[in-house]
Amino acid sequence: MSTQPLRVLLEQAFPDATELDVVDRTGGGDHFQVVVTSRSLAGLSLVEQHRRVYEALAAPLADGTIHELRIRTKGES
């Protein structure tokens, strides 16, 4: 899978994101690093912030498209 479908899912989940990046870490289309900075994450614990990302990417996580996901989030106030 290319990074584009993941980016679309994240953009839908975080329409107000000021930083949104998806990197294919190995070039193999299954190990990804995502970075999200969004006001909607402000005030949430890291666990809750990462949960929002997992929810946004639930389908590719469930069907095995994503083998590994590294997440970096920031809640912007």
Partner: protein
């Protein structure tokens, strides 16, 4: 038979529970290793469960925690997160703080490492 009761028991009865791929002596995944090493550096006493022992462990754990990936770290019965969060907390100096808040100042006294093999 299911693992759920045993998983919940490990989570609630361990100071630090680490659900990982492999064991601390033989880690089978880079991310599990990242979490383990950060916990070791913080001086945590880790109770480890190898989710590779049976795919059902991972499925039932995900239902309990609502967290889809491995590793998963619980401190004082509460989900702290996966490898990214544990490393980020370490970078911010918050990992030891979290351990102290949930387990008390003496959390690093024993530095024990236990591996639990779950049986359904």
């Amino acid at each position: 038979m299911s693992y759920s009761d045993k998983i919940k028991d490990v989570i609630s009865s361990s100071d630090v529970a680490l659900f990982m791929k492999g064991t601390p002596a033989f880690v089978m995944c880079g991310n599990s290793d990242r979490a383990l090493q950060a916990l070791r550096r913080a001086g945590a006493s880790v109770t480890a469960v190898d989710v590779l022992a049976d795919p059902q462990i991972r499925q039932e754990l995900a239902q309990i925690s609502g967290w889809p990936t491995i590793p998963q770290v619980f401190v004082g019965g509460e989900l702290v997160g996966g490898a990214d969060i544990v490393e980020e907390l370490e970078r911010n100096g918050e990992l030891e703080q979290t351990l102290r808040e949930k387990l008390g100042d003496g959390y690093a006294a024993s530095r024990a490492e236990t591996t639990v093999a779950l049986k359904s």
